[in-house]
């Protein structure tokens, strides 16, 4: 059996400075909350920033990748940059003609299953390890944060992901549909994680928002069985 908390968020040190309540999700120490639950619940629809780097992710690439995923029960979006939220909380994004990005939700385990199946290197399907830092910017004022940091006009959100730069860092940005308030997922090279977290959090705070923990985004999650540790 594997030891616990092997994985470490690219922004772990930034989170630690905020003195959060920690738990372990997918083998990574995560911030469940920084402030009391009521305060964070209020922040989320207004303006908040949350680290979701704990969610396992991978890409599947190659001429047979779409067929392989179809066999595995994944319906890949028809258009490049299209995305699909799965019932188990995982996310599927078509990042290129022959490349699909898959990210687990807090309790799903698709990525580890796929990694196991792809370890035999089936012809025409290539597993791409992904270690992106991943954040969620939420709330009615989140557009304002992106207006300050990104050249894309998100007031008319595209239907799918956008490859762009946020505060000078190459990012994949997904405006989430069907959420109470506007919300954006961001993925980026983990080497730039701390820099972008600090840059975004400074602007978020300037605009009256703050960092929130995983509980604010997944209210039902605190009871999930995969959460271990110092739960509030």
């Amino acid at each position: 059996m594997k030891a616990s908390s092997i994985r470490r968020s690219p922004v772990h040190d930034c989170l630690e400075d905020l003195n959060p309540v920690w738990a372990e999700v997918h083998g990574m120490k995560v911030s469940l909350q920084f402030k009391d639950a009521a305060t964070e619940s209020k922040l989320k629809p207004e303006l908040s920033l949350c680290d979701l780097s704990c969610l396992p992710k991978m890409s599947v690439k190659g001429p047979e990748s779409l067929a392989w995923l179809a066999q595995a029960g994944i319906l890949v979006p028809e258009s490049v940059y299209g995305y699909r939220s799965m019932a188990d909380g995982s996310l599927v994004i078509r990042t290129d003609r022959q490349e699909v990005f898959v990210e687990d939700g807090p309790v799903s385990h698709k990525v580890s299953e796929f990694e196991r199946e792809l370890s035999s290197h089936p012809l025409g399907v290539y597993r791409v390890c992904r270690q992106d830092a991943s954040f969620q910017l939420s709330g009615v004022r989140s557009d304002g944060v992106l207006r300050e940091t990104c050249g894309v006009d998100f007031s008319r959100p595209p239907d799918g992901v956008v490859m762009t730069r946020v505060a000078g860092v190459s990012c994949m940005v997904l405006p989430l549909q069907a959420t109470e308030a506007p919300a954006y997922r961001l993925w980026l090279d983990p080497s730039y994680g701390s820099y972008l977290w600090k840059a975004l959090l400074e602007i978020v705070r300037d605009q009256g928002g703050d960092a929130v923990g995983l509980n604010a985004l997944y209210p039902s999650f605190r009871h999930a069985t995969s959460v271990k540790g110092d739960t509030p």
């Binding site: 594997k2 030891a3 092997i6 994985r7 470490r8 968020s9 690219p10 990574m28 780097s53 890409s59 690439k61 190659g62 001429p63 022959q98 290197h121 290539y126 791409v128 390890c129 992904r130 270690q131 090279d189 983990p190 080497s191 730039y192």
Partner: protein, 374 residues
């Protein structure tokens, strides 16, 4: 210290020791016991697909078609004018899968160039710039094998995991790529792991190495170690005009291949006399005057003949060693060259053979084999 876009540890400060003493201790640790350095800044590219081998053959100057899965080879990359632009190691993970390292800060430019060539040639490859995805650390020194064997199930016996081998395995429970390479000139392993598990693996290696006196070492110690071994740093020991023949890298260029980028220019250059050549030099062990610095000029009959590209005090040899470009006629072993140091003072150095340290590469040879030949 800054290294391109990265911040890297120059050395690890030790209370009561000067910077120079701390660096010297790190060097000694690697030469005599075992050290660990973060080399995550190396560029890391994954090249897969039915045309992967043909693509690597075309991009790099060496030969790769017969490289067996499980083995690595040094790679040198030139532009179309034959100028050296990058180097690294290509690890063949499978018949159609390569994992290639690039210089620190070189990965974006190399990946961009590879994408361009893949389109021009219409080759079926999948290219991933995995530089930020994988952390990498180099466990180096005579005790490195004993440290690592407690953390992996891979058989590290040299007859099953030879020098320049690569293995996909687990280290400290983490999926890893192990490359048995020797940039610092000692028995060692580059350990590449997913970035979010890097701290975990680093800590386990430091724990496992405690009984062997392991120490982390920084970029300054690495620079000394690699220079003793005579390994070049592209961009420091080469410039925007350097071609492989003047850098003494003919061995890495296979002119008889059907094609590689820069081959046509190198073919023309190979027929022309060299105008400069990179040599190793050393000062006498008794030298007490000023020491040359990088970019100090080599002077011949009052004229600029070249420049120093790397220089350091070598703990292993007990004297100052370096690399410098000189006129071809000055490159004969034993030749005396003049270097103009600070304040215009001239000092004399001798052209010597490289590698300065372990020229027979015995440090990569198993002890049992050494005993057999001795």
């Amino acid at each position: 210290m800054h290294a391109g876009n990265w911040l890297r540890p120059e050395y690890y400060a030790v209370p009561g020791k000067t910077r120079r003493e701390a660096i010297a201790e790190e060097v000694t640790t690697v030469r005599q016991r075992v050290g660990l350095i973060d080399v995550g800044t190396l560029g890391k590219l994954e090249i897969s697909g039915p045309d992967a081998t043909a693509f690597v053959e075309r991009i790099y100057t060496g030969r790769f078609a017969k490289l067996q899965p499980g083995m690595t080879r040094y790679v040198l990359m030139c532009d179309e004018s034959g100028v050296i632009i990058d180097d690294g190691v290509a690890a063949r993970l499978g018949p159609d899968r390569f994992y290639v390292t690039t210089t620190t800060s070189g990965s974006d430019a190399v990946a961009q160039e590879m994408r361009r060539w893949a389109m021009v040639w219409g080759m079926k490859i999948a290219l991933v710039n995995a530089t930020g995805t994988y952390a990498a650390m180099n466990l180096a020194g005579p005790d490195s094998r004993r440290v690592l064997e407690s953390l992996t199930g891979v058989d590290l016996a040299p007859e099953r995991f030879p020098y320049l081998g690569v293995r996909e395995c687990e280290v400290a429970e983490i999926t890893a790529r192990l490359l048995r390479v020797g940039f610092v000139g000692e028995w060692g392993y580059e350990i590449h792991v997913p970035a979010n598990s890097a701290v975990w693996v680093w800590d386990r290696l430091m724990e496992a190495g405690r009984d062997f006196g392991i120490q982390p070492f920084g970029v300054e110690a690495q620079r000394i170690l690699r220079l003793e071994k005579g390994h070049l740093i592209i961009g420091q020991d080469t410039d925007g005009l350097t071609h492989p023949f003047e850098a003494g890298m003919n061995w890495a260029v296979k002119m008889d291949k059907p094609f590689f980028v820069g081959q046509r220019s190198l073919s023309i250059l190979s027929k022309k006399p060299l105008t400069r050549t990179l040599v190793g030099f050393s000062l006498p062990g008794s030298h007490a005057g000023p020491i040359p610095k990088e970019c100090h000029l080599v002077i011949d009959s009052g004229e600029i003949a070249g420049r120093v590209t790397s220089v350091t005090w070598s703990p292993a040899l007990g004297r100052v060693i370096g690399l410098a470009y000189v006129k071809p006629e000055q490159s004969k072993l034993g030749s005396s060259i003049e270097i103009r140091v600070d304040r215009g003072e001239m000092i004399r150095a001798t052209v010597v053979r490289t590698p300065f340290y372990d020229p027979e590469n015995l440090r990569q040879t198993p002890v049992s084999e050494l005993q057999e030949v001795s």
